[in-house]
């Protein structure tokens, strides 16, 4: 009882200290701002920003408000973060498996990759990759054409897109149906396998059906996909879609950089799986791929999930190096806005809240997933 009471005392004292520090901080900021004739205000968010950004999924221009431009920056940051998380996971899991696969050459190659990426600063990797891409790839007017479909230059990668209309809706619907059908039919196939022992294939037949549903109606003239092709016009390609080189470089650099760290996590997680599991899997005649997919990875994932979550948070925060190469992420837009509005405190508060929000969501999702894999074990 006595111990408990003293614990309560210290906790209350700690909370009190925090509140006091927060109060001092707030008062200090207020007093110093008043002294410098600065008043905190978020009114500027609705004012016209007056500058353009390099790329955006929203249609923002120089006449948009600061709020809209900042939102475009947030979306750019999110898109970049998601692509980097996917890229780093794929590279990292592959390298992690190679690192602990027992194959001499594979282990050495993965080891070399991990050592290099873990010991280089990410900004250096980014700038080196950027300069290499910008100087090796051809200029727009001499772009490399891939079967006349895709044009690659040091400015952007250009590709044909389906324009707004029924065709686009149909395409999106089919792309949405594809994973759902695989999940549902996969469950059915598993039930049949449990009952009869016969495993029917799911992924390939479903994919074929979806492709036929996409291409078929167009062939017999039911749907007209209005395709917009990139055409060189003046200084640049017009029409079609484009992915800027700086975005590609950022995704590559951050995926390669964080891939090394993810690989180490995966290696550690695989090492945590008891040797008996490997021996049992081999003894039951599973191939290396089957053993990895069915026995080892499901157990390794449990050990890896919490630290993977940490990696994902790091990736999200590290997308802020994007401004170095001209990708308009949140930090880039914020920096420009600060220089125009002289409202650093407000803008940094906004950015910090956004990053905090994104990171809390990511860690919440990881926790949900973690609870699920642990529940499976129990």
């Amino acid at each position: 009882m006595r111990v408990l009471r003293s614990q309560i005392f210290w906790q209350v004292a700690a909370v009190g200290l925090l509140i006091w520090l927060g109060y001092i901080l707030a008062q200090n900021i207020e007093a110093n701002l008043a002294k410098s004739n600065i008043v905190l205000s978020f009114d500027f968010l609705s004012a016209q920003a007056g500058f353009d950004i390099s790329e955006s999924l929203l249609s923002v221009s120089a006449t948009s408000s600061y709020g809209a431009v900042i939102l475009a920056g947030v979306i750019n940051t999110l898109v970049l973060a998601v692509c980097c998380i996917v890229g780093a996971t794929i590279i990292g899991v592959m390298m992690g498996i190679m690192r602990s696969g027992g194959h001499y050459l594979g282990e050495r190659i993965a080891g070399l990759y991990i050592e290099i990426t873990r010991n280089l600063p990410k900004l250096l990797i980014l700038l080196a990759l950027y300069l290499a891409m910008v100087t090796t790839l051809p200029v727009v007017r001499e772009s490399w054409s891939v079967f006349g479909l895709i044009e690659i230059s040091n400015r952007a990668v250009y590709f044909p897109i389906v324009e707004q209309g029924f065709g686009l809706w149909w395409l999106w619907a089919m792309i949405a149906v594809w994973p759902i059908a695989i999940c549902v039919l996969g469950k059915v196939a598993r039930r049949i396998q449990d009952k009869t022992g016969i495993r029917y294939p799911v992924i390939w037949p479903v994919t074929m059906c979806v492709l036929i549903l996409i291409a078929g109606p167009a062939m017999i003239g039911l749907i007209d996909y209005q395709i917009s092709w990139p055409v060189l016009k003046g200084f640049d390609f017009a029409g079609g879609g484009r992915i800027s080189v700086q975005f590609v470089v950022l995704v590559l650099a951050l995926s390669i950089y964080h891939g090394g760290q993810v690989a180490e996590l995966v290696r550690g997680a695989i090492a945590s799986v008891p040797v008996g599991q490997f021996e049992a899997a081999k003894a039951s005649g599973l191939s290396f791929a089957q053993m990895t997919r069915l026995v080892i990875l499901p157990q390794a994932i449990r050990a890896a999930v919490p630290s993977m979550g940490n990696q994902y948070l790091n990736i999200t925060k590290n997308t802020s190096i994007a401004l170095a190469v001209g990708y308009s992420d949140l930090v880039s837009v914020m920096t420009t806005s600060i220089n125009q509005t002289f409202r650093p405190i407000e803008l940094m508060t906004v950015s910090m809240c956004v990053y905090l929000g994104i990171c809390l969501i990511v860690s919440w999702l990881v926790n949900i997933y973690n609870a699920r894999v642990i529940a499976v074990r129990a």
Partner: protein
């Protein structure tokens, strides 16, 4: 115990009132500390770059030294500190520095801030475009659909948006923060155009493998009067303003740091204007008394720093790698068709 804290606080408050009542608190502070805190760009070739001893050298830094020579009689007493662009104005407003000579454009909204004063324009710049010659573009109006590389976070972005928007010209911007990445993107043709202040463009051009492949377009899309910035203080502002006029007058009259000692030895036989500029019992001496400067202030400026033309040639002129022409530009003296107009010292 308490008295210990209260007393200094009370003195601080009193001192605050006392200095506010005084006409020139900044001037008094500079003289009391025998040092002048002046902010410059951290790395801007020709304008301010640290030399091998870590001392800032360049066109902008010489106006810090000019002010120190005028007020304290010694150009070396300028405490020159490098600082980022947006922090420089905040530091002046927060009274963390006395003046800034940092290629800051004087604009209406900036000048409206009561915490700082724009004193005198030392350089008339303007934003322009650089293009590879092989594009065959002669005017900025031909840039429809072009991709423009610009510095992240500067007014450059706004000027471009205004200029292209007003003319309904479509363009795409890449605002790249890292300088080497930005220049490499431009030299490798990732962007068609590089936009910046024309002075910056001419120094960037030298970094190309073959500077002759690139040209600066004739259009100047903005006015950038790069102006000295000070804390509000009448005496201090007057000192900076007239120290600069001394440099202009000296150039107009052909007085340099080299020949000034000879001129001073024979002042009585010099033209009247020169006598007024350097004679301690004439206009310059009277000004010194009224503003509160050393009697030989004008001599010290020219002896230690030089006239405007000397400063320009030393850092930006034909004998430097920048080789920026001054004749027939806004930065020539008014007698040569420029905008630098020496106010009479009499």
């Amino acid at each position: 115990m308490k008295v210990r804290f209260v007393l200094p606080a009370a003195f601080a408050v009193l001192a605050g009132f006392a200095t506010q009542a005084n006409a020139g608190p900044v001037m008094d502070k500079i003289k009391a500390e025998d040092s002048l805190v002046c902010l410059v760009n951290t790395n801007s070739p020709g304008f301010s770059v640290p030399d091998s001893q870590g001392v800032y050298q360049g066109f902008n830094t010489d106006f810090c030294r000019m002010t120190a020579a005028a007020i304290l009689g010694d150009a070396k007493k300028a405490d020159i500190r490098g600082i980022g662009f947006s922090d420089s104005m905040k530091t002046i407003v927060a009274e963390g520095a006395d003046m800034a000579s940092r290629s800051i454009t004087r604009t209406g909204t900036r000048d409206a801030n009561p915490g700082m004063r724009f004193v005198v324009t030392t350089y008339y710049d303007g934003q322009g475009f650089m293009i590879p010659k092989k594009l065959g573009v002669n005017h900025a109006s031909e840039l429809n659909g072009a991709t423009v590389c610009a510095e992240e976070g500067s007014t450059t972005l706004l000027n471009i948006a205004d200029w292209f928007g007003d003319r309904n010209i479509e363009y795409r911007v890449e605002n790249i923060a890292d300088k080497s990445a930005r220049l490499q993107a431009f030299f490798a043709g990732k962007c068609d155009v590089l936009a910046s202040d024309r002075t910056a463009l001419s120094s960037d051009r030298l970094l190309a493998d073959n500077p002759g492949d690139f040209a600066i377009l004739p259009e100047v899309i903005s006015n950038e009067p790069l102006t000295l910035l000070s804390r509000p203080d009448d005496a201090f502002e007057t000192a900076i303003y007239w120290a600069f006029q001394v440099m202009l007058n000296a150039e107009a009259m052909g007085v340099t740091s080299e020949n000034i000692d000879g001129i001073m030895a024979d002042l009585a036989n010099q033209p009247k204007g020169v006598q007024r500029l350097f004679g301690q019992d004439s206009a310059a001496g009277e000004m010194a008394q009224q503003i509160g400067l050393p009697a030989d202030w004008s001599y010290q400026i020219i002896k230690q720093v030089g006239n405007y033309g000397e400063v320009y040639d030393r850092h930006l002129g034909p004998n430097t790698s920048f080789d920026m022409a001054r004749t027939a530009t806004a930065n020539a003296l008014s007698q040569d068709g420029g905008l630098l107009y020496p106010d009479p010292i009499r």
